[in-house]
């Protein structure tokens, strides 16, 4: 007995092939078997989902989320995170290893894989720590962890700052063709800072972090990439100088990629206003010039991917004086509408936006996702490109509601999310 589903009358979008046309898509036993006009032809016996001309695209691949399991399940679990991801159109997400304990051991990588299977929601993959306990001193078992399913290696929100340790991590990772993901901030320069250095921080009397703390870490790392030839990914880039450095490195042929997160193109430092801790992030929100540079970096492809940078914190940890409040915001459920702002404003084409949300992160992490190709898993998102609405944090599936975007008017929403042909969001409509 085979399960056949026909998604009818969709606007089919596949950034990998440039496909953007009206048509149908047939799913058989969790795999895409036909795309376009042929799909309707061999759909006998299939259940039909009428798409009313809405956008049908590869499900999003979110390469940067924090799920808090194990260790801080009151903030987020894999279950609640999976529900939030599904509501956001994300079909694969990759968890950072900054749990308690940190994911630096084969058993913990296997734990994530097992929990993901048990939950049966979206695909949950995990990074492993690049150094034991995220302490930045000894490298982890990169070979064994890769074999166990770790997608790549990172110390999460801590930069691997010791140059010799990073050089060894790069060299060793190259042996296994593993990817190292860096949080780009020179910690000794950023120490004690809570927002981007500049007029706003000066007015508020808050210690600032110079934006140069980001680019100098990346420039140093790029030298080590040159020496070692390792694959290097820079997470959440937020300054024009960093993007310029990566653009130049790519032109030289270095194996470097990067992502950014919606707050870095949707907000600037003025969102902090009068001590709005919900706009406290790491890296911090930047100047308007840097925000524009992020948009330009997405447009010219220097920035490969958009990740949600989902960081669940209970509201109590935000309702504190600014310097004491936690940094980070939830993002799984706002990633699509915030990215679509760039499309509606004419900065990106729809296919460019989708490429950054699905195709490129899947390629960087070498995951079997991000395409509408026949024979690939039916991880799909159906969304209304134009429907206006407001972001409402009360409706979030995430256990934590820490978002600065509450009430923001947006255009576009997820209608349905499918993972291997199963509807994980939007089943009723």
């Amino acid at each position: 007995m085979t399960a056949r589903t026909l998604l009818k009358n969709a606007r089919l979008l596949d950034p990998a092939t440039g496909l953007d046309q009206k048509g149908d898509l047939l799913v058989v036993d969790g795999k895409i078997t036909a795309v376009g006009s042929r799909a309707g032809a061999d759909s006998s016996g299939a259940s039909v989902i009428e798409c009313h001309g809405h956008c049908l695209a590869p499900g999003f691949v979110d390469m940067r989320v924090e799920l808090r399991e194990p260790g801080r399940e009151h903030e987020e679990t894999m279950q609640s995170g999976s529900a939030a991801a599904a509501a956001g159109g994300v079909t694969t997400m990759v968890a950072l290893p900054n749990t308690e304990p940190a994911i630096d051991d084969v058993a913990l990588v296997e734990f994530v894989a097992r929990r993901s299977r048990e939950i049966g929601g979206v695909h949950i993959r995990t990074y492993a720590a690049a150094t034991r306990g995220l302490k930045g001193r000894e490298i982890t078992e990169i070979g064994l962890l890769s074999s166990a399913g770790a997608v790549a290696f990172t110390d999460a929100n801590t930069a691997i700052s010791d140059a010799l340790v990073l050089r060894r991590a790069f060299s060793y990772a190259r042996t296994f063709d593993a990817l190292i993901v860096q949080h780009p901030e020179e910690p000794s320069l950023a120490a004690g800072g809570h927002m981007t250095e500049g007029e706003t921080a000066t007015r508020l009397g808050l210690p600032g972090i110079t934006p140069a703390a980001e680019v100098m870490m990346v420039e140093r790392d790029l030298r080590l990439v040159e020496i070692t030839g390792a694959r290097y990914h820079v997470a959440h880039v937020s300054t024009g100088a960093t993007i310029d450095a990566i653009r130049a490195a790519k032109a030289r042929g270095l194996p470097v990629t990067c992502d950014t997160a919606p707050p870095y193109f949707a907000l600037n430092e003025t969102a902090v206003g009068e001590y709005r801790t919900f706009a406290k992030l790491s890296p911090p929100l930047r100047s308007e010039g840097d925000r524009r540079a992020v948009v330009a970096g997405l447009r010219d492809g220097t920035i490969d991917a958009i990740a949600s940078d989902h960081s669940p914190h209970p509201q109590d940890s935000k309702r504190l004086p600014f310097a004491s409040a936690e940094a980070g915001i939830v993002g799984l459920e706002t990633m699509l509408p915030l990215t679509l702002e760039l499309v509606h404003n004419g900065h990106l084409t729809l296919l460019q936006a989708l490429r950054a949300l699905s195709q490129r992160p899947a390629e960087i992490l070498r995951l079997p996702a991000g395409r509408l190709a026949e024979g690939t898993p039916a991880d799909l998102v159906l969304f209304d490109l134009n429907r206006p609405g407001r972001i409402e944090i009360d409706g979030f599936r995430s256990k934590s509601k820490n978002s600065p975007f509450d009430g923001r008017p947006v255009q576009g929403r997820v209608l349905k999310t499918m993972v291997e042909g199963r509807i994980v969001f939007g089943g009723d409509s």
């Binding site: 007029e199 921080a201 000066t202 009397g205 001590y275 109590d316 309702r319 504190l320 004086p321 004491s324």
Partner: protein, 321 residues
Amino acid sequence: MTGTVDSRAFPHRHLLGIEGLSPEDITLLLDKSEGYVDQNRQADKKRSLLRGRTIMNVFFENSTRTRTSFEVAGKRLGGDVINMSVAGSSIKKGETLIDTAMTLNAMHPDVLVVRHHESGAVHLLAQKVNCAVVNAGDGSHEHPTQALLDALTIRRRKGGLQGLVVAICGDILHSRVARSNIHLLNTMGARVRVVAPRTLLPAQIERLGVEVFHDMGAGLKGVDIVMMLRLQTERMHGSFVPSIREYFHFFGLDARKLAAAKPDALIMHPGPMNRGVEIDSEVADDLDRSLIRHQVEMGVAVRMACLEVLTGELGNGPPAK
């Protein structure tokens, strides 16, 4: 004088900072303060304006001078003043600032006078209470009553603030006094300079409307007022100046450096002074030129005026600031 009715209203519920106050707001506070200066010099200093009102001094950071000044101000207006020293109380046991605010609010104070070591903490607390809040200094952000008392001191000696050239010297980076004074002096039409080594200046300070100098000789040239700031070593993580000796040599105020200022230039300091660090005793104690003791006297009068306008308008003004 205190007996006359002043129909001008203070349109703010709280006094959280100078930024956002209009010239009229500031003038109103200074005019009201003048009356209290006279009252405070009489034998009978007590009035009953605040009879039945409760003023709580809530200090999350140690202070003797400012807390005492507010206490005197509240008592001279006939209010009940309660001093809460929070250092060592429940806040140390993990209670959040908001919980503390809720607890205090339940006691129905009329005014909370709050000092906190973190910038923005007083704003946060003010959002959670029903009474007026006076910021008695939050982190490196603002200290509005200090700027008001400085303005009153200057106005009484110079007749006004418009057109004066004021140099604020020293640890601008960590100073809430500097930020409040920059806002106030700019609002009232004075010209503000800051003089400090680059390590003690915050980024883009010029965007607040000041001229920046790194040399005392150039920075003090032709100024009417020299405001010295204390080196706030308690807020410093690491070394901002190599030594006290070097700091005093280049940035400490002594007679030689003061010679660059106008001959009738006046010297101010918010206290407590570190003699031999940012100021030489010879100039600090110069009775003709040093206003340091006047500043303390004006502090009580200014705080009385602040308490008056905030309790008088309670419930009538708009909810902002």
